[in-house]
């Protein structure tokens, strides 16, 4: 954490007053006072009673806007590895991190407090991870090390075979485990029944010899018998047979214990994915990663019908073989996609720097502004399972927000401060002063 950043005393109220707050919980609010205490928004609204001794930050008249911070779903410039397109499900993205000095500050400067990283490669390259960006430590402790199973689908027989075979092998592993469990249960039940029989026999014997016997002694004798007995007791706990670590994530996925991230780059990929899925019902999210030209609009209705979360690059693309511009995020929204992540148009630093500009372009060409802002912050956070870290601004939610010196979708605006749980983790004035010195 920045050493010089003002730390607000515990228990003491801090008050922020803004002309405008993008709460992302409905429309933007005007003339808002936010009262933060112990890292939580205690009160928020037009008429808020300000306690005595509260620290006051009055930004009214400055054009500053508060908004929940951004979350990048694919900050893959933080990850480097050489991996092909095979079955590499055992890898985690967090193990391939390649962080350069000052990465956190650069992200905070863009108003980002959460990043997802994907394992590099195609096919089944591994599982995604989530990092918190709070300027606290250089080497991060991941929030989630092992999240989604990343799968890339394309209209190639080898790519399809890889996924088909993985699912088949996982099915077999599940079957094997079920069989093993059944065998164990049977063995256990048999053994227990036998023990009971033995115990009863013992009891009868003892009773015939002399009246009653203290139960403790009887038990002790039982245990002794076990040890002497020819039959070995089956283990108390069932241990499942070992599973190939490259298949285990598939097993969890089939058991609905894991969500997959399915990467598609064309309309055909969607059909091939549906073909692979067949009758299965597996939990997954859709990541679109097409180039500048795309024909995904052709399957927009089918994608919308699934009601799944869709991750789409914020980019105006072209219809294939034409210079006809197409706004895929807006088309998807029109088709009925409601949970949309708007990610930077590529996995590079430069795309993060032009992120807000790209989103502004998509909004200017027809995407709903609220949907776009949610797609930059709340939706990716939800996809990462971090809705408690990053949520809409309302009473009772953590005081995690960015103070922009203008409209966040204006590329000229800059983040003045980033607050996480009420703590200022980035202060532009201080950071600039540091850079100069």
């Amino acid at each position: 954490m920045l050493q010089d950043a003002p730390r607000d005393p515990v228990g003491r109220a801090v008050v922020y007053r803004f002309d405008k707050v993008e709460t992302l919980d409905g429309e933007a609010l005007e003339n808002v006072t936010i009262l933060v205490r112990n890292g939580v928004i205690e009160r928020m609204g037009k008429a808020v009673v300000i306690p005595e001794h509260a620290t006051m930050h009055d930004y009214r008249g400055s054009g500053k806007i508060a908004m929940p911070p951004f979350a990048l779903s694919h900050a893959n410039f933080l990850v480097r590895d050489r991996r092909g397109s095979g079955r590499n499900a055992k890898y985690r993205a967090v193990d391939s991190l390649w962080l350069e000095e000052g990465w956190e500050k650069d992200l905070l400067k863009e108003g980002v407090v959460l990043v997802g990283v994907d394992p590099p490669g195609r096919g089944v390259p591994g599982r995604t991870s989530v990092l918190r960006v709070d300027g606290q430590v250089e080497t991060p402790d991941p929030l989630v090390a092992d999240l989604h199973l990343k799968i890339t689908v394309s209209n190639s027989s080898s790519a399809k075979r890889l996924i088909r075979d993985s699912l088949a092998v996982a099915d077999k592993a599940i079957e094997k485990e079920n069989q093993a469990r059944k065998d164990w249960e049977k063995a256990r039940a048999d053994w227990e029944a036998k023990q009971k029989e033995k115990a009863e026999e013992e009891k009868k014997k003892e009773q015939t010899e002399d009246g009653t016997i203290p139960p403790a002694v009887a038990q002790g004798e039982d245990e002794q018998k076990d040890k002497d007995g020819q039959e070995q007791a089956p283990p108390e706990e069932f241990t499942p047979p070992p599973v190939d670590p490259n298949i285990a994530p598939f097993v969890e996925w089939i058991r609905q214990q894991r969500v997959a991230q399915v990467w598609l780059s064309s309309g055909a990929d969607w059909l091939h994915w549906q073909d692979l899925l067949g009758e299965r019902e597996l939990p997954y999210e859709i990541v679109l990663w097409h180039g500048t030209s795309q024909n995904i609009y052709q399957v927009a209705d089918a994608i919308a019908a699934t009601e799944l979360r869709v991750d789409v690059p914020a980019r105006i693309s072209f219809l294939p073989y034409t210079r006809v511009r197409a706004n895929l995020p807006a088309e998807l929204a029109k088709a009925g996609v409601s949970k949309m992540i708007l990610s930077p148009s590529s996995d590079s630093w430069s795309a993060v720097k032009s992120y807000r500009f790209a989103v502004a372009e998509v909004v200017a060409n027809g995407l709903d502004r609220q949907m776009a802002l949610r797609g930059m912050s709340l939706e990716p956070a939800m996809s990462m399972g971090q809705e408690e870290v990053l949520g809409p601004l309302k009473v009772g939610s953590p005081a995690t927000f960015v103070i922009w010196n203008g409209d966040p979708l204006n590329p000229m605006s800059q983040a003045d401060r980033v607050l996480v749980d009420g703590v200022v983790v980035y202060d532009r004035a201080k950071a600039e002063a540091e850079d100069q010195s």
Partner: protein, 455 residues
Amino acid sequence: MSQNRLQFLLALLWLGFCFVATPKAHAQDPPNPEVVDENPLPTEEEVVEDDPNAVDPNSPYLVILGADIHTVTEGLIPRGTILCKDGRILKLGKRVSIPKGARRIDARGMQAYPGLIAVDSSGVVRGRGQNLRDEYDPFALNVDLGLAGGLTLVQTGGALAKLKHGTLDGVFVGETHWVKLSYSTTSPTGRRKLREELGRVRDYLRAHRQWALSKELEPDFEDPEPEAKGFKKEYLDLLRGEAVARFSANSLKDLLATCDLLEEYPMQAVIVGGREAWACAGRLGRVGAQWVITPRAKSWADETVNHPSGWSIENARILWEHGVSFAILPNERWISTGGLAGRDLLTLPMEAAFAIRGGLPQQAALRALTLDAAKILGVDHRLGSLEPGKDADIILCDGDLFHYRTFVQWAVVDGKVVYDKMKAPYFAHIRPRSADSLEEVVEEIQRAIDAPEEE
């Protein structure tokens, strides 16, 4: 309101007609198990309540109304109706009752043909053999352009693929077991080797037959089974009749040599090329091979030889007259957007039009693109003509198929519209189809008449 009453009376009349006419028709015709009366007589209530023109987009039925139907096998049905169900043609003719809710195409003024078939093409769609479906891109430019050119089936990478936009269902039709053989006069060694290998196959087949016969007849026959060696396994398939040999031959020498080979080793064969075939058409007709010709492929006559040589615009006509069955393929076997129009599969009918210019009857040219091509590929039981029971792969053109101005307006594959010129971005701007259908025009006129005079 008088019009409503009139309509009601008409409906009643029609009902009456149905009651009288239907049993009569049944009495006359032998019962046909395939033709199911899918349109039971509506009761009076239904006639009054339901809009008979209501369309259910998920209906298994597709009706193509008013097109001139080129059936290929049964001639032309002018202004007929094609009724498709579940991807097959159910009925076609002048009087076909329309099931309720059927999807419909108003094709008045259009020409309906079976979808065109490209034999021995390459690169129109991705993938080989069994992998074809997994590699298929149903939104690819080639699929749309192929359909725009009237193609609905291509042979590629040892498999047959239907061109379908937006779906993977039914795109893979099957594999074609073709064995590429080279029997060119330019490579005497290659020819000798091929003949020798085929000879070994024949010897093996004879030995094996002898052995099998002995084993069956003699109880104490102990000889081991003859070993299949000294030749490629696929040659065995050829002489067993389980595969098709694909030759490439253009010059008279090569053509005659190939005929010799086929007479010595009878097998199913497709010969691609045939530029000088006109000069030995009688011989070719007797060999019984099937052909894939390119009518526009040219080579000038060689003045130094004492036999006919060079190309002829009449090539296709002469072959047809000698009973040679052929398909037509352009010089480029793929869809090219390189700029030179009319040389690739985008304009397959143009290639056939050239053969027509050389005297080939139009019907024969149509067969070459449809039924005869399907025969070469062994799918003529499903494709290649418009007949009840066949796949509903139909193209609707706004003019004669062989006219250069003609556009494919709709392509239907497996009973679904997979290409609509006005909805695809390629040719919609050229001579756009009128948006108003005749019905709408008539309705508008009627409204104008019915409207009370103002002022």
